[in-house]
């Protein structure tokens, strides 16, 4: 592909309105051959809307899209594909029960008429995978593939359709650092070929490593379009949020107390009947945060669920505050002093159809403070809820608003408020800020650290209200976000295939070291 001086894509004056929201506000955006143009912004800033318009999934209300200098109408993904646009979706658009070759050939004309031509497709897949270093078995069924492999299928799918413009929607969110490196090598080969890439991410160091240019969106509008040279994480974050943002939270050195959570030789089966947690040992002391780093699917979810009593273990013991809670019911474990912020916010953490106050009351509903002879004491409940809403800065029109209509960050704050309001001895927090905006994430981080040091105003008042609770919390934080792991943890444990590969000090460990452990490789000096 030849001429690199004229853009492949120009989007001019794109405006898209959803009921009550201006998702894209007169956005201009273009991509030249051979460049990586990054779209950066918080959740709801309009990045996804913009690329969905480009991919024919939404019609734009205003504005025009030009490809190779000509105005095109993109009414469906088919139109987009015909114009050479390919998209690597954040949630893989792969049919899990079909093979790689079937997934790639889906929607294409077959050379054998009504019959599938999987042989020819497989050959072409192998050619492409050799050319771009995307190792794949065309006959493998997709559900058996790792996340990294699935992403390769997505890229092959786009290349197979000869995409000259590739949209990558948060492609690194699910990968290990090593897989990210490998992906970036592939992506650079694609730009060397003269393809244009649209990269969507909120991981600032990746954006800086890969991009040629960066366009920042906030509330649907472009707030800056800059070349990568001279950009810094701080300057980008400030453009995203519209004010100065502190990316790494301040924290005082930990003063660990006695062991509050102890997991010994834990073995747990996953949903598919294979061992998910495989003889795992860990302990968390009061007043410390133990971060669990790892690629998703290595037993984190099963570990958290088992500690919370939502899943039965095969063997091993779990102690919360010195009490053996192995196999106990969730309520008993809570009574022992455990609070739990689950990974699946909407499925397990909150009830979307319930109001904010109902969600805040989900644990304490039967406490005599809020219930008398089977009737809610609404006065006390409202007071308590309003208190939590203020303390945790929950942005909600009212206490009666249904929780499901709040933003992801605010739903998470509702859950955090509810869980921390009991001043637990142990808090297990899974993916506490996944999908939460930087602004909201900042607040949740601060809250975790405040609780640990047990010094904040509102938290202190709560602790006073519930006097018998011990204040110094042991926190087990499970996260796939290394920034979060390094920013918050006092110790970092890396999980791989259900085992702890090692525990490192985040002050001295490097990302590479942790990344290797996440891939199951133990470094000699770790």
């Amino acid at each position: 592909m030849t001429d690199r001086s004229s853009p492949i894509l120009e989007m001019k004056g794109i405006t898209k309105r959803f009921p009550g929201v201006l998702a894209n506000d007169n956005v201009d955006f273009d991509v030249y051959p051979g460049e990586v143009h990054t779209l950066l912004g918080e959740n709801g800033a309009g990045k996804s809307t913009l690329v969905k318009i480009l991919y024919g999934l939404y019609p734009a209300d205003e504005g025009e899209v030009l490809i190779d200098g000509e105005v095109v109408s993109l009414d469906s993904p088919t139109d987009a594909i015909e114009h050479g646009v390919g998209m690597i979706h954040q949630h893989f658009m792969l049919v899990p029960t079909l093979t790689v070759a079937e997934n790639v050939s889906l929607g294409l004309k077959s050379s054998r008429g009504a019959l599938t031509d999987l042989k020819a497709v497989s050959e072409r897949i192998l050619e492409l995978s050799n050319e771009y270093g995307l190792d794949l078995d065309p006959s493998a069924v997709v559900w058996q593939l790792s996340v990294g492999e699935r992403q390769r299928v997505e890229i092959i799918k786009a290349l197979y359709r000869d995409a000259r413009l590739l949209i990558l929607d948060e492609p690194t969110a699910v990968l290990t650092p090593q897989e990210v490196d490998q992906l970036f090598v592939t992506l650079r080969k694609l730009t060397d070929d003269g393809r244009g890439l649209i990269f969507i991410s909120h991981k600032l160091h990746e954006v800086l490593a890969l991009s040629t240019r960066i366009t920042v969106l906030r509330r649907g509008a472009v707030t800056g379009q800059i070349p990568v040279e001279g950009a810094t994480r701080e300057s980008l974050a400030n453009m995203m949020v519209g004010r100065a943002v502190k990316l790494t939270p301040d924290k005082l050195p930990a003063e660990p107390g006695e062991i509050a959570l102890k997991v010994q030789d834990l073995i747990v089966m996953g949903d598919r009947g294979v061992i998910a947690v495989d003889g795992l040992n860990l302990s968390v002391r009061r007043g410390e945060i133990l971060g669990i780093a790892g690629v998703s699917g290595n037993g984190q979810r099963e570990l958290a669920e088992t500690i919370a009593g939502l899943r039965q273990s095969e063997s091993g013991t779990i102690e919360v505050a010195g009490i053996d809670v192995t196999g106990a019911r969730p309520r008993k474990i809570r009574d022992a002093g455990l609070a739990y912020v689950p990974e699946e916010r909407m499925r397990e953490g909150a009830i979307g159809d319930f109001t904010v106050w109902e969600n805040l009351l989900l644990i304490d509903y039967s406490s005599p403070e809020y219930l008398r002879s089977g009737f809610f004491k609404f006065g006390a409940i409202k007071e308590h809820s309003q208190d939590l809403v203020d303390t945790f800065d929950i942005r909600t029109p009212s206490l009666e608003t249904s929780c499901g209509s709040l933003s992801g960050g605010n739903i998470q704050k509702v859950i955090m408020a509810r869980e921390l309001s009991s001043s637990p001895t142990v808090l297990v927090a899974s993916q506490p800020t996944r999908g939460v905006d930087i602004g909201a994430a900042e607040y949740i981080h601060r809250r975790l650290i405040d609780t640990r040091n047990e010094l904040t105003d509102a938290e202190f008042i709560h602790a006073k209200l519930i006097e018998h609770r011990n204040a110094c919390t042991a926190i087990l934080m499970i996260s796939e976000d290394l920034d979060e792991i390094f920013g918050l943890s006092d110790r970092v444990a890396v999980i791989y295939e259900g085992k702890i590969m090692g525990i490192v000090d985040p002050e001295t460990a490097t990302r590479e070291e942790v990344g290797l452990m996440m891939a199951g490789i133990t470094t000699t000096n770790a």
Binding site: P77, T78, L98, L108, A114
Partner: protein, 310 residues
């Protein structure tokens, strides 16, 4: 008991099991297409009933069983199109809209029968076609090779369905939209079009199944199917959404039915217990389902309407 299961009885039971399996097999194969594409059609029994009446009436008027089959197919086609419109285009709740189709078919088939026919008049049934040479094999011949053409065609439909589902682009599209329609949509596969086609195939086969039932019996009456359409839906699960698995389910059900009928004829089951015995096939099917269905994974998008961008 020893002398009851003579070779002649066994041959009769197997032959009758195969015959009885055919309407279930056809309806269930059709339903498989729909369900693999993500559409559950609970109205199968209603379509079968109207197909049965149409088939009966056409044979009554023309004397030609093949025109009867065609009439069943046409009625099934239109009801399949209507079901598609309701489930795919209007995105109705599939667990409920199908019940409407069923009740429509149940009532309408009886109404038409009362208005147009009134008293049950027997009609021509399918002629038996002995397959040369094979039908002369002792025991096996009468069991497998002395049936009517529709029986052979119905069993031929099994490998054909398997081939369509697994080896054609249409079949691949069906599997894709039943599992993850969003993915199919982003690649330009028409989710609605594929589902309309699959669901209409299902309706057509249900109509044919009804026609086969009525013409095989040579009679029509109110609620002729006696819930066969619902058994057909259950067989889709039982057969793990594969034509071959469905065949085994249909044969099992046919065999139990045939056995009960035979035992009644031989008066081994007392007359006053025969109603109870008639329930045996349904009960055994439900038990078999309960055991088998635990290990079966339904298409992920089954009963879920698709809207782009959601």
């Amino acid at each position: 008991m020893g002398e009851v299961f003579t070779a002649a009885v066994l041959v009769a039971v197997v032959a009758s099991a195969i015959r009885l399996a055919v309407p279930l097999l056809l309806a269930s194969l059709g339903e498989t297409f729909g369900q693999r594409s993500g559409v559950l059609n609970l109205g199968v029994d209603g379509i079968m009933l109207l197909g049965a009446f149409a088939g009966y009436y056409a044979v009554l008027k023309t004397g030609n069983v093949w025109l009867g089959l065609l009439a069943g197919a046409i009625v099934g086609l239109f009801l399949g199109l209507a079901s598609s419109f309701i489930a795919v285009t209007l995105k109705a709740e599939q667990g409920i809209s199908g019940i409407g189709v069923y009740l429509f078919g149940l009532g309408m088939s009886d109404l038409l029968f009362q208005k147009l026919v009134g008293t049950p008049i027997p009609i021509n049934t399918f002629p038996k076609v002995d397959i040369p040479i094979l039908s002369d094999i002792p025991y096996l011949g009468p069991m497998f090779f002395q049936h009517s053409t529709v029986v052979y065609l119905a069993f031929a439909a099994i490998p054909v369905s398997t081939f369509i589902i697994n080896r054609t682009t249409f079949g691949m599209n069906i599997r894709a939209v039943g599992e993850y329609p969003e993915a199919a949509d982003t690649l330009g596969v028409s989710v609605a079009g594929t589902r309309w086609a699959a669901e209409t195939i299902g309706g057509t086969l249900a109509g044919i199944a009804g026609g086969v039932l009525a013409i095989s019996l040579g009679i029509f009456q109110q609620n002729l199917t006696n819930g066969a359409g619902f058994i057909a839906i259950a067989l889709v699960y039982f057969g793990a959404f594969t034509p071959l698995g469905i065949m085994w389910g249909a044969l099992l059900f046919g065999a139990i039915n045939a056995l009960v009928l035979e035992l009644k004829t031989l008066e081994i089951i007392p007359r006053d217990l025969s109603n109870l015995a008639a329930m045996a096939p349904a009960i055994i099917t439900i038990l078999a389902l309960a055991v088998v269905a635990r290990r079966i994974r339904a298409p992920a998008a089954l009963t879920k309407p698709f809207t782009r961008g959601h």
